[in-house]
Structures are given as structure tokens and as C-alpha cells.
């Protein structure tokens, strides 16, 4: 479903990704782990088309399409969703208004009719339950004054509404206490379906106790240096990134 080949990318003229190769099949959950500065967040920014990141070599094919040729909004409409590490606050725009605009942009692209306010609210109430989010937050300005946990729940709630084919979860566990982490993980697990693939980007193994991956990859200095199953994440937790470095250099 997603095929990344020899991907190089830079930001502000500095090369961060130095030849990434990854194959993600339909319905698979891949964990991408790595120390700070290894290029984890750059990978999600490049896949979603952040204008500050320049792809200098390589290709990304998503469901047979050249993903890198598409604008950020086109990628989103094609079904690529990013749960942001730092969700943005937007004063003056309610969560409901924002998400209804987004949902209708996606629906129109998929050949579905626009959803009116009534049907939107009905669907939203149903999906709020997936992440245990309060309805009151729908009517507040997007992410403004939300706690860290509320922001992350709101990301997963948006994923539940937009029903992407590929979900990228960028450090979704950062800043969460264990209860919030469990709630967010429950939400993510409820969204695991046969056709939906997930890339779970995380520094720590903790999140992977709750969102159990099919595959684990270790990113270092902009390359995938090690791949394995879910046990690799546990081994990393035990032995640390220094161990990977030794293995790679050996």
C-alpha cells in the first residue's frame, strides 16, 4: 500500500533522511522507533508534504500513486492522516466547524455528498465515544485551552472521523499520563481495520504495550538500520539504542 524507496530529504539545507526504504502492507501496523534526531518526525512531515521539507531523492508510492507529486491537502483527501506531535491551536475556529470543513473536503474528493450540520453532529457524537472525548470540546476553539491529553484525543477523534487509509501517529504518547495513554491507545486500536495501515512513530516502547505493532523498525541518522517484529521493540527497551549502534557497526 505504501512503498518508500531510497528517500532522501532535507530541511533548511540540512540532510535528515539519508535513504529510507519501507514497505507497508494494507492493514499492517509498523512501529518506527529511534533516538532524538534520527529523522522520525521528518519522515511524517515528508510523507504529508510539509512545505519546509525538501525531498532530494527517492520515491514514495501510495496505493499506486506518486505521493510526492501531490499537495498536502490532496494527500489528506487520498487518505493520509497525521496525528501531530504538537497539535496546533486555532483561535476563532471551533473544532466542529474545522472538522466539518475537513470531512466535506475529503468526502467530495471521494465522490460522496457533503454532510450537513445535523448528520455531522450525529456522526461526531458516535466517534467521540471511540476516544472518550467530551462533546463540549467540539464547540470550543480548535485545541485552544485543551490539555495535552485532550489534544491527543482530539487527533485520534479526527482520525476516526476522516477514516484514512494510512494513519501516521507522531509521538502520540508524548506528554500523556498512563490513563490518557490507555484511552488514546484504545481509540487507535478501535480504528485498526483490515484496510487501514498505521505507522506509529515513538521514542519509547511504552506506547507499543498498548498499540501492538506487526513490525518494528529502528531509525538512526536518517536510515532504517534494523527491522523486526514486535519483540524488537521490547529488546530495544531492554538494551537501549546504544546496542543497536553496536550491532550496526559490528
Amino acid at each position: 500500500m505504501l512503498s518508500i524507496k531510497g528517500l532522501h530529504a532535507s530541511v533548511d539545507g540540512k540532510e535528515i533522511l539519508r535513504g529510507i526504504d519501507l514497505e507497508i502492507g494494507a492493514g499492517e501496523v509498523h512501529a518506527v522507533m529511534g533516538p532524538n534526531g534520527s529523522g522520525k518526525s521528518t519522515l511524517s512531515n515528508v510523507l504529508t508534504g510539509h512545505p519546509a521539507y525538501k525531498v532530494t531523492a527517492g520515491s514514495v508510492t501510495f496505493q499506486g500513486k506518486d505521493l510526492l507529486a501531490l499537495s498536502p491537502e490532496e494527500r489528506a483527501r487520498e487518505g493520509v492522516f497525521l496525528s501531530f506531535q504538537y497539535p496546533v491551536e486555532i483561535p476563532g475556529v471551533s473544532t466542529a466547524y474545522f472538522l466539518k470543513e475537513a470531512l466535506n473536503a475529503v468526502r467530495v474528493h471521494r465522490g460522496l455528498p457533503r454532510m450537513d450540520a445535523f448528520d455531522f453532529l450525529k456522526l461526531a457524537r458516535e466517534r467521540l465515544k471511540v476516544v472518550g472525548m467530551k462533546e463540549e470540546l467540539l464547540h470550543r476553539n480548535l485545541n485552544q485551552g485543551f490539555s495535552g491529553g485532550e489534544k491527543k484525543r482530539n487527533e485520534i477523534f479526527q482520525m476516526a472521523m476522516l477514516e484514512p487509509t494510512l494513519g501516521l501517529l507522531d509521538e502520540t504518547d508524548s506528554g500523556l499520563d498512563i490513563d490518557a495513554l490507555k484511552a488514546v491507545a484504545d481509540g487507535v486500536n478501535a480504528l485498526r481495520t483490515e484496510g487501514r495501515s498505521l505507522i506509529v512513530i515513538t521514542h519509547y516502547q511504552r506506547l507499543l504495550d498498548y498499540i501492538v505493532p506487526d513490525f518494528t523498525h529502528v531509525l538512526m541518522k536518517g536510515q532504517v538500520v534494523m527491522s523486526g517484529g514486535k519483540e524488537l521493540a521490547l529488546e530495544l527497551e531492554d538494551r537501549g539504542y546504544a546496542w543497536v549502534e553496536e550491532q550496526v557497526n559490528a
Binding site: 499537495s71 491537502e73 492522516f81 497539535p87 496546533v88 483561535p91 474545522f98 475537513a102 473536503a105 476522516l162
Partner: protein, 402 residues
């Protein structure tokens, strides 16, 4: 000088002496130049170059809409009152007999005030009777016609809200005319009285130079919302004197400019009495080659113990060519006050734009969404209902105009 014949018109009436004096004041000071602090960033040259005719004897033809739901109104066309319907508790007084004329806006205030005083005909005083609470807004429309010769139209208003009374005044300046409207409004807010004043200038090729001078008595409230929506030259100067203990001025506004628009808000607030409060919240959004000016001066007099003044002027520039000059100024004669101000100039938040696009919203729609949110935030100071809806519709209509 023939193009400036409109500056030499002095009607012969009960006010002749005051008019002659005002004209002498104008002759002594002349039109403001960029050396005048109050006009540092706004040139009056386009007005002087415009070859305006003096005000005509009769109103021209105008077309505007949006008054169907307005039971109470005063409609001026080219400075002539053509329609009036007043609510209970409100009466009109002729200005020729009004001793307070010029008390807040003396000819010395500016060249335009001097010329207005020298030449206005047919302005009115709007008086709200003591303790009268007028629930329906009184709408004052001032339209300029778009005839063969563009005129200079001086219009003079006075609003007196007597002790304990309450009024909502909606002042509308519809687009579509030509020439200059030189408007002077003197506002007296009595003890424990309230005036809510929504002023909307739908800009066009016409010049709009307005001078509002208000005085607020003990625990009175003056709530002004000023919207400048484009305009070749829209200048709104606002002077408020908080003369009674506990008097309040809450002033907010939006200036939205594109193309070659010139929009200027210049405010002077004087705290004369203890525990007076003022709040200024003005936002600018400028696109194209537009230029915006915000000058907000607050003066704290020695008697203003425990006074509080807040001021904010965030601005959004949507193009490389757009400019905003923002000048917060605070003059304090003593320490026992609290005050804060904040002025910012920025572009749309790139992170917010990307966030919206990542959700499938296209770049243009995301930009419109964020710009709209930035603007409408100011209107939240208006009470929910018809007034806020009117202002929101005006702003949205500006945004939807390409």
C-alpha cells in the same frame, strides 16, 4: 485654488459668528501635513487633488439596501436629512440652538473639524431622554450620491444620552458614492448612561473623514465598534474624555484593506477621574498595497487614581505590499494606575495553515478560514443577536469580495 472652493462656504445663519471663527482657525492652521503627528502616516493630498464641488442644495440619487428591518432611522443623503423615524424617548434638536455645539469638537481639533463647523447645514442633535432605555437600535445612514460632480459634504451630529438612559446607535456609510464626507459627531454620555455605537464604513472611491468626540460622565459607558471596510481614504479619529468617576470607554474595531486602500484609526483617550476604565481593541487585516494606521494614545491625568487602560492592536498582513503603522502611546502623570498595551504585526500562522491542509482543506480555504477567525474575534465584543449578525455579515461580505 478653485478646486478648494468647498473650503470657503459659510452659510449665513444663527451660527455665523462661530462659523467665521472656525474659518479663521482653518486659515491659520491649514490642512494637516505629514509633519502633523496625528496625520504622520495619512496624506490628505488625494482629497485636495480631487476637485470637489461644495455641497449641493438638494440630495442626489442613491441606491442602497438593507434597511427593510429598521423601524427607527435617520437617513442623510449628501448631508441632507431625507427620512426620519424615531423611537420613544428620543428627540431631535436643531444644532443652531444647541449651546454645547463645539464643546467637545472645537475648531482647533483639526482642519476638518474647523471646515465642518464653518460650513455644515442641517445636522441634528439626537437626545435620549433621562432614564429612557431604547431597546431597538437607531440606525443613522449617511450616503453620498455618485453624481456628475463629486461634492464635499460636511455633516454634523450630536448625540446626547441623558443620565440613566441607554441607546444603541448604528451608523452606516454605504458604498457607491463619490466625494468627501466630513463628519463630526459630538457624544455626551450622562451619569450611569450607556451608548453603544456601531459605525460601519463600506469603503469605495469616496473619502471618509470622521471625527468623534465623546465625553463620559460618572459610571457612564461608551461602547464603540468601528468597522472600516476598504476605502480610498477612511480616517476615523476618536477622542474620548472620561470625566466622571468610574466612567468607561470600550472601543473596538476592524480595518480591512486591499488594493490601494488607506485606513486610519487615531484615538485619544483621556482619563480625568478616579477609577475610570478604557479598553481599546483594534485589528487590521491588509492585503494588496493597502495601508493601515492605528494610533492609540491614552493620557492619564493626575486625578485618575485607580484608573485602568488596556490596549491591543494585532495586525495581519496578507501580502508583501501591505503596510501597517501601529503606535500605542501612553502618557502618565502619576503612578496609581494600571495599563497595558500590545501591538503586533504578523502573517498567517504557517503551522495552522499546514494543519488545516493536512486535514484536506485546500490552501485558499485554509487561509480564508484563518483570516475570518482573526477578524470575527473582534466582533465578539458585540452582544449576540442582530447587531453582531449585521457586523459579521459586513465582514464576511468584504472577505467574499475578490
Amino acid at each position: 485654488m478653485s478646486g478648494l472652493a468647498w473650503t470657503r462656504v459659510v452659510p449665513q445663519d444663527a451660527l455665523s459668528a462661530a462659523r467665521a471663527q472656525a474659518l479663521a482657525t482653518f486659515d491659520a492652521v491649514g490642512f494637516p501635513t505629514r509633519k502633523d503627528e496625528d496625520w504622520k502616516y495619512t496624506s490628505v493630498k488625494p482629497i485636495l487633488d480631487a476637485e470637489l464641488a461644495p455641497q449641493g442644495d438638494a440630495p442626489g440619487e442613491v441606491f442602497f439596501s438593507g434597511l427593510a428591518d429598521t423601524p427607527y432611522r435617520l437617513i442623510f443623503v449628501d448631508g441632507h436629512l431625507v427620512d426620519e423615524a424615531l423611537p420613544e424617548g428620543v428627540r431631535l434638536v436643531p444644532l443652531g440652538e444647541e449651546p454645547r455645539l463645539g464643546a467637545l469638537a472645537p475648531a482647533e481639533a483639526s482642519a476638518f473639524v474647523a471646515l465642518n463647523t464653518a460650513s455644515f447645514v442641517g445636522g441634528v442633535g439626537i437626545v435620549v431622554r433621562r432614564n429612557a432605555t431604547v431597546t431597538e437600535p437607531l440606525v443613522v445612514v449617511s450616503a453620498l450620491s455618485d453624481g456628475e460632480t463629486a461634492q464635499s459634504v460636511p455633516l454634523r451630529l450630536m448625540v446626547v444620552v441623558e443620565d440613566g438612559a441607554e441607546l444603541t446607535l448604528v451608523e452606516q456609510h454605504p458604498a457607491g458614492g463619490a466625494g468627501l464626507l466630513n463628519l463630526v459627531t459630538e457624544v455626551f454620555v450622562g451619569e450611569n448612561a450607556q451608548l453603544r455605537h456601531l459605525k460601519v464604513v463600506e469603503g469605495d472611491e469616496a473619502f471618509h473623514v470622521a471625527h468623534i468626540a465623546a465625553s463620559v460622565a460618572r459610571v457612564g459607558r461608551y461602547l464603540l465598534h468601528s468597522l472600516a471596510l476598504s476605502g480610498a481614504l477612511t480616517r476615523t479619529s476618536i477622542r474620548v474624555e472620561l470625566v466622571g468617576e468610574g466612567a468607561e470607554a470600550d472601543l473596538s474595531g476592524l480595518f480591512l484593506g486591499r488594493d490601494d486602500d488607506r485606513l486610519d484609526h487615531t484615538l485619544h483617550i483621556t482619563h480625568d477621574a478616579p477609577r475610570t476604565r478604557s479598553n481599546q481593541r483594534f485589528k487590521g487585516i491588509l492585503d494588496g498595497q493597502a495601508q493601515g494606521v492605528f494610533t492609540g494614545m491614552v493620557q492619564m491625568k493626575p486625578g485618575a487614581t485607580g484608573a485602568d487602560a488596556q490596549q491591543k492592536n494585532p495586525n495581519l498582513l496578507l501580502s508583501q505590499g501591505a503596510v501597517v503603522h501601529t503606535r500605542p502611546q501612553l502618557l502618565i502623570d502619576h503612578d496609581d494606575i494600571s495599563a497595558s498595551h500590545g501591538a503586533t504585526v504578523g502573517q498567517l500562522d504557517e503551522a495552522a495553515l499546514f494543519y488545516a491542509r493536512q486535514r484536506g482543506i485546500d490552501a485558499d480555504a485554509a487561509q480564508r478560514m484563518l483570516t475570518r477567525a482573526f477578524a470575527l474575534d473582534v466582533l465578539e465584543t458585540l452582544p449576540e443577536g442582530s447587531l453582531r449578525d449585521l457586523a459579521t455579515a459586513q465582514v464576511e461580505s468584504w472577505m467574499e469580495t475578490p
